[in-house]
């Protein structure tokens, strides 16, 4: 299969935040769109609250890892990880980060910050912050000027995956989608 899409992303957070789930959602979205996909995940002891990072490459790739300076975008669920992971961003790349209001975020590219912890708490499900960040990234992506920097998938693609690819119960899929939409509409709110 040949495809022109080539996109490299990093999803970073700490164990228990749902980094793996977001990674899988995006990877399934790629598959549903007929795109080749490669991810690499952190398992094992780090999943007990340690630093966790996933690499995601959509398009024709051989290596499962994103090289430093090559990521088109970063999804950061814990802002303290920026110290460690912003080196992966390519010049001019974007970062979507879960950060409190008073935090200053400095990265080599363009940063979009959102207090997903607060939004998640307000929505009554602290665990949904991962999907809120994802939703926010989807909306940020739509507003990007060049199509090359946009995410390979849209809200509609993620919605399809939640409805079709995951064998989750309907109510669960609805709850997931609601969380994604909270993040998605955060920009206009």
């Amino acid at each position: 299969m040949t495809s022109s899409v080539r996109q490299q992303l990093l999803i970073s957070g700490v164990g228990g935040q749902g980094v793996l789930f977001v990674t899988r959602l995006l990877a399934e979205a790629a598959i549903a769109k007929g795109l080749p996909v490669f991810t690499c995940e952190t398992h094992g002891m780090a999943q007990r609250g340690g630093t966790v990072v996933s690499h995601l490459k959509v398009g024709d790739y051989h290596s499962p890892l994103v090289r430093a300076g090559q990521a088109d975008g970063l999804l950061v669920l814990k802002s303290e990880n920026l110290d460690q992971h912003s080196v992966f961003l390519k010049p001019g790349g974007w970062v979507v980060v879960n950060a409190g209001r008073n935090e200053t975020v400095s990265v080599p590219g363009t940063a979009f910050a959102l207090d997903a912890d607060r939004l998640a708490r307000d929505a009554g499900n602290a665990k949904s912050l991962n999907l809120i960040v994802l939703g926010y990234a989807l909306s940020v992506s739509e507003r990007m000027k060049t199509s090359r920097s946009r995410l390979f998938c849209t809200l509609a693609d993620v919605e399809d995956v939640l409805k079709n690819s995951f064998k989750s119960k309907d109510t669960q899929a609805a709850a997931f989608l609601a969380a994604v939409k909270i993040g998605y509409s955060a920009l206009t709110a």
Binding site: F38, R48, H62, S63, P64, A68, N81, V87
Partner: protein
């Protein structure tokens, strides 16, 4: 089941097994190999396959069961992590001599980094010692394909075959085509008596060893697993030889650096035995050769003339740590003589892992420190290694060593004026795996120590696999359950008590009693029983939620933070005059154990509004 699916490397290998008619698969969980067997079980259930799938008590047992299966002509497989292979190496070495009848694959997953292991050892070296061929996949997709190749190789030469994925293969996901599962029902188990082979005495072993050497020579000329040239279009005097994930990185990086046509790139799929014709070609055709492989220089050491070879021996390629894409980029750039923008990924420590909020181990460790404040704490492999954060773990060597190291310390301090209390901690699964002979030895030698078995009814660290006490198997099928107390008593221990660490006050008293007994009378065993909260959550079970709050009795001394370290406790120290501790309700599991931790009694149950 067909079509393109997103599969984890471990699931891809599992799929390869069922597609190739594997009839028996065994394993003991260990990161990064754990998901292989659970995925086999899922495919078995989904496709209604006739096969035996089981978690074994340890890797040696797993290997022996699957090996005996292949002696009857069936295709079988065993999977484990690299340090598990140390445990299984005894039967493995011998199996190499005796050979196989049905195809037999040992999957040993290595962990360069290391990310989740005690060592960075290279299983391919063990394959070399055993004189068994080994295949080294570069991706989930190739790992799946190599299962078929490994069975063919195994049956063609009647030898066990090792498949050696690394963490980056096991824990990558890729879109993979599912093929139909093989109709393996045709083959029935049949055992041909042949004591000269299956029960060979040293005299016959000599003959078997000769046979083995002949096999190896033939395998080093076996076409289907020979190295491949990935860029035939390049004409060059320099060659890069890469295997496993390093080959995948190299393939991508050479293209991105624009030197795809400047250096020849070979991928070695079978690092041992390395193909003789390839060695000759390589050394004849190229002026400079760079070898990229993880983690030892297995390919490199088989290249007879090393003067033109750059690798681990020459000090060019790092011998320690993962060959990350950044490292490979710098190596390839230097080798091709071009300048690359070197970006180093700082080895930032990141956040350290910790026991989950509400983990029963935390309470056990708190009690142990109360009961034996100046003790020596030997511990073992599992989540509870994280007891280190609490200052309640002094040593971790390998599976089962908590007990033997306790014994070693006891013998060493025996003549000391005031020997220290020795408290060993071991998880239930680890106790079954390697703790039982150790405990028997301690009983016989009258070792005065206390063993706390952290019985959370599951194998926690690796994703909640059942233990021999669970009463069910990998497919959820009902099995016999071994009673831990009877087992401990059966080892000859006369003092064995059981308690619930969530009842912290009572549990501290119980621990003190056990330590006092252990100090005076020899092995005292305390079983600390409370289910893993993650396991319960996974099964959709819940226990009563104790809503806790911190009252203004808290003066922010930080005792609870330092000595109890629940991740749901937040210490506020920004304002020196108003230090205090609060609870992060998003993380709190409602275990209520902290109620009994604060010396000032600042924690209290929340009044219901």
């Amino acid at each position: 089941m067909s079509g393109r699916r997103l599969l984890l490397g471990n699931e891809a290998m599992a799929r390869g097994l069922v597609e190739n008619g594997c009839r028996m698969a065994t394993s003991y969980p260990g990161t990064p190999a754990s998901e292989i067997l659970s995925a086999v079980a899922q495919f078995k259930l989904a496709e209604k396959l006739t096969m035996h799938v089981q978690w074994a008590v340890n890797e040696k047992i797993a290997l022996e069961i699957a090996y005996a299966g292949c002696m009857t002509g069936l295709r079988t497989a065993v999977s484990m992590k690299q340090v598990g292979l140390n445990v299984a190496s005894d039967p493995f070495m011998s199996a190499a001599y005796m050979g196989v009848k049905g195809g037999f694959i040992l999957i040993s997953a290595d962990d360069p980094g290391p990310h989740s292991s005690q060592t960075e050892q290279d299983s391919r070296m063990v394959a070399m010692t055993a004189k068994v061929p080994v295949l080294d996949p570069d991706s989930p997709r190739q790992a799946k394909e190599m299962i078929g190749a490994a069975y063919a190789l195994s049956e063609a030469f009647r030898t066990p075959v090792m498949l050696r994925p690394t963490t980056r293969v096991c824990h990558s996901r890729q879109d993979i085509e599912l093929l139909p599962v093989a109709a393996a029902a045709g083959i029935e188990a049949k055992f041909d008596r042949d004591p000269a082979r299956w029960a060979a005495t040293p005299k016959f072993r000599h003959k078997l060893h000769l046979e083995l050497e002949e096999k190896l020579a033939a395998i080093a000329a076996y076409a289907p697993t020979a190295p491949v040239r990935l860029n035939p279009e390049a004409s060059a005097r320099k060659a890069v030889v890469a295997a496993g994930v390093a080959a995948a990185h190299a393939r991508e990086i050479l293209q991105e650096l624009g030197i795809w046509k400047k250096v020849a790139l070979y991928q070695v799929r079978q690092p041992f035995p390395l193909h003789i014709a390839f060695i000759e070609h390589l050394l004849g055709a190229y002026r400079d050769i760079l070898v990229l492989e993880e983690t030892a220089g297995v390919i490199e050491m088989q290249l007879a003339d090393r003067r033109r070879v750059k690798g681990k021996q020459s000090g060019t390629v790092p011998r320690v740590g993962e060959l990350t894409p950044e490292r490979i980029q710098a190596l390839l750039g230097d080798f091709a003589g071009i300048r690359t923008r070197t970006v180093t990924v700082a080895g930032a420590p990141g956040r350290r892992p910790t026991l989950c909020a509400g983990c029963p181990h935390r309470a056990s460790f708190f009690a142990i420190k109360k009961a034996a404040p100046r003790g020596i704490y030997t511990s073992d492999i599992g989540c509870y290694t994280l007891g280190m954060n609490l200052g309640a773990v002094d040593t971790v060597l390998c599976m089962g060593a908590a007990i033997t190291q306790a014994a070693g310390f006891y013998h060493a301090f025996r003549r000391a004026k005031k020997p220290p209390d020795i408290v060993a901690t071991i998880g239930d699964s680890t106790f079954f795996h390697a703790g039982i002979p150790a405990l028997i030895d301690a009983v016989v030698q009258r070792v005065k120590f206390t063993l706390v078995i952290l019985d959370n009814r599951t194998t926690g660290m690796t994703g909640n696999q059942p233990t021999p006490a669970s009463g069910f198997g990998v497919c959820g099928e009902p099995l016999e359950a071994v009673d831990l107390e009877s087992l401990v008593r059966g080892c000859g221990v006369t003092y064995c008590r059981t308690g619930d660490p969530y009842q912290l006050k009572d549990f501290i008293a119980l621990t003190k009693e056990a330590v006092a007994h252990g100090r005076e009378n020899g092995p005292a065993v305390l079983i600390s029983r409370h289910p893993c909260i993650l396991d319960r959550a996974r099964k959709g079970e819940r226990s009563a939620f104790v809503a806790v709050e911190v009252s203004d009795r808290c003066n922010g001394c930080g005792f609870c933070i330092k000595n109890f370290e629940c991740p749901a406790l937040i210490h506020h120290t920004e304002d020196k005059d108003h230090r205090r501790t609060t609870i992060d309700s998003a993380l709190c599991a409602g275990c209520g154990v902290c109620l009994q931790v604060c010396p000032r009694g600042a924690f209290r149950t929340k009044k219901m509004r």
